[in-house]
Amino acid sequence: MKWLSDDKLAHLLGVVGTKYAFVKELGRGGMGTVYLAEDRELDRLVAIKVLSAPEVTDDLRRRMIREAQIIARLEHPGIVPVHDAGTLPDGRIFYAMKYVRGSRLDEYTAQGASLNDRLRKFQAVCDAVAFAHAHGVIHRDLKPQNIMIGSFGEVLVMDWGVAKIREDPCQSAVYNTSDGTIIGTRDYMSPEQARGEIEIDERADIYSLGAVLKFLLNDQKVGKAAKAISAKAMASVPGDRYASTAELSADIGRLLDAESVSAYRENALEKTWRWTAKNRFLVLLVLAYLVMRIFLIFTSRR
């Protein structure tokens, strides 16, 4: 099949069949190209992902449709919603999703986000991924480049193109690793994914989340607890990781609340220090009381 240039595509999108008017190209991935387009019926901007690969097979087509179906089934504030899906005049499959204004997580951190902000965003990512896991979907390619921070601070997990649905009878026909294909991005990929193992589960995503957390903590001054959370999530043996994304999210919540985390066992001194830091105003009040008492004792003896 001969592919159309962006100009021709723009023309077709603008005049034939669809309700979308091409605006510009946003990016290209392994399977598709994402365009910014205008939905002329609803008068809003959308992002359209169009299947574009050097060789388009039936498998790729099915995979693209499946990607749209996966995202559509995951209705969650942390997962970019799909508005529409269909076929372009030249036969290419596409789906339209919300156009997210904002920056990718790696760009967001480069703008100097504070540690607490980073942890809150990370927790929101965990919650979105936990939702997907609860619906039997494993993302398999979590990385800062696939996480968008919207202009109002909302967090959206993107690019579900290589996601796996657990117990999906169509899975093997569509996109699995039965042929040993390695899916994911090396720096964020779990060891079992890197080995091309077929049977991976939610813990592969937990590993990737640990790697994302490590990236977020990279240039920050953090305590042992934060590092321990990342290390536990990134344990090489899946059984040593958090059992669920919700557990990982809960530990991040505890870290934000200056409470003890399950990934790190504190000694008495660290516990006292953390409690003092958390309740510093109360500690100051008690100290002030003691100082005043000592002062009164000495002055009354004169």
Partner: protein, 115 residues
């Protein structure tokens, strides 16, 4: 822990500690038992008042201010009965009220509204 209960517990503990410091005052050391008892009761009364206030008004600065005023007022009554030691009684009493006022606002639980 609910705000009134936290106020009572904290008021009693801090009141007792406050009373125990009278041991450092040789002139009143022989009355230590009575002072500790009176100070604990004063702490409990202050704790109840501050705790119930915290339950009604959710404001840290106002809660602290109320704590200081209640602590100072009750301590003043005690000093009045003692006929002296105003500074030694009113100042610590005010700070104890301040601590209870802060703690009840900050750490006390507010029960969820029931429809």
């Amino acid at each position: 822990m609910s705000k009134p209960l936290l106020g009572v517990v904290l008021g009693a503990i801090l009141g007792a500690i406050d009373g125990l410091t009278a041991w450092f005052e040789p002139a009143v050391r022989n009355q230590l038992g009575g002072i500790v008892f009176g100070s604990t009761i004063k702490g409990i009364i202050a704790g109840v008042a501050i705790g119930f206030f915290a339950k009604k008004f959710h404001s840290l600065p106002i809660g602290i201010l109320f704590g200081v005023l209640v602590g100072a007022f009750l301590a003043f009554l005690v000093a009045l009965m003692q006929g002296g030691y105003y500074l030694q009684i009113v100042l610590p009493g005010s700070v104890v009220g301040l601590i209870v006022g802060f703690a009840t606002q900050k750490y006390g639980n507010t029960p969820a509204a029931v429809n």
